[in-house]
């Protein structure tokens, strides 16, 4: 059974990567923070009786499910929004400001890095963008294998697929990423 200190250390070590992974998936910092918080609370509340060694796999699985839940909720919400906007008399009174979206993007780490004019930061930002653009399953497999340091079997267990599928996803992600970075003038 993981003690409070063990859980605290684990969460402190994993929270930034978890946030980034959620952000790559949902492309929204606030939503990503909510997802990470949900995952942390679920882990502490429901799996506190598990040994500390099991926490990484459990947390990755919970984070993944929390991200999928976010997309499900978003889908339901967008369905209702589309329905009501279609029923509304007109769209002339739309007060939404496109600059709000641009401001939100300007506050993102990628944009900040671009503004810093530091070459490395720009490269990092571009890499993050391209990672976020990968298809969901490819990105999950790639990040679990090469960022979370999970082996193929663990990744397959978390993703609920075969080890062969994990290898395929990783290989495709690597090639897609390398191609995309090369197209943007980045050679690793």
């Amino acid at each position: 059974m993981a003690s409070r200190q063990e859980l605290s250390d684990f969460l402190a070590g994993v929270e930034r990567r978890a946030f980034k992974q959620a952000q790559y998936a949902v492309r929204d910092a606030d939503a990503a923070l909510d997802i990470v918080q949900d995952a942390m609370m679920k882990l502490a509340e429901k799996y506190s009786d598990r040994p500390a060694a099991e926490l990484p796999l459990l947390f990755t699985r919970i984070l993944q499910n929390a991200t999928y839940d976010f997309f499900r909720r978003q889908k339901v919400r967008s369905t209702w929004v589309t329905l009501f906007s279609a029923l509304s008399p007109g769209h002339e009174d739309d007060n939404s400001d496109p600059l709000e979206t641009l401001e939100a993007m300007a506050g993102s780490p990628a944009a900040e890095s671009a503004q810093d004019q530091v070459e490395r930061s720009q490269v990092v930002a571009i890499i993050e963008e391209e990672v976020a653009r990968l298809p969901t399953r490819q990105r999950e497999a790639f990040l679990m294998r090469y960022w979370e340091d999970m082996d193929v079997a663990e990744t397959a267990a978390v993703m609920g697929c075969s080890e062969g599928s994990v290898k395929t996803h990783c290989s495709r992600a690597t090639h897609a990423l390398a191609r995309a970075l090369k197209a943007r003038g980045i050679h690793l």
């Binding site: 409070r4 859980l7 930034r16 990567r17 923070l33 942390m40 930061s121 990092v124 990783c170 690793l188």
Partner: protein, 137 residues
């Protein structure tokens, strides 16, 4: 560059990005962690219910030296109690045996002293007669 080396390069870049998170985000992550830890149930140091047999094979190295004899006692005590229970039950049965035998003898004697010949009970017709009388009742 193979897949592993490429993954390592990407990992370096992503680690840099994660390390460069702004204060607002790290503060919110810290708060999220605190909220999660508030929901954590601390493992009990002395569990209220601890089955004695569970100590077998799960004794930790730390508790093994100091509480080793206690763990052994935890295993031995129920075993001794079980054996004592079996002996008690056996003794009680032995005490009850003469009394029960005398009861059985008395019953046999009563059947033998009855007017109905004992052979009648083995007779099929007598059984049918008895069933008929029971149904009439």
């Amino acid at each position: 560059m193979n897949e592993k080396e490429f993954g390592y390069q990407i990992r370096q870049a992503l680690n840099e990005a994660a390390a460069a998170l702004d204060y607002k985000t790290t503060y919110r992550l810290e708060q999220a962690r605190a909220a999660a830890l508030a929901r954590h149930r601390e493992p009990a140091t002395s569990p209220a219910w601890n089955p004695a047999l569970q100590t077998v094979g799960t004794r930790s190295a730390a508790s093994g030296s100091r509480l080793g004899w206690f763990g052994g006692f935890g295993l031995a005590a129920p075993t001794v109690a079980l054996i004592a229970g079996f002996i008690g039950i056996y003794q009680w049965q032995q005490q009850q045996l003469p009394e029960r035998m005398s009861d059985l003898a008395a019953m046999d004697f009563a059947v033998l002293m009855d007017e109905t010949p004992i052979g009648a009970y083995a007779d099929k017709g007598f059984g049918i007669l008895l069933r008929g009388e029971t149904e009439d009742l």
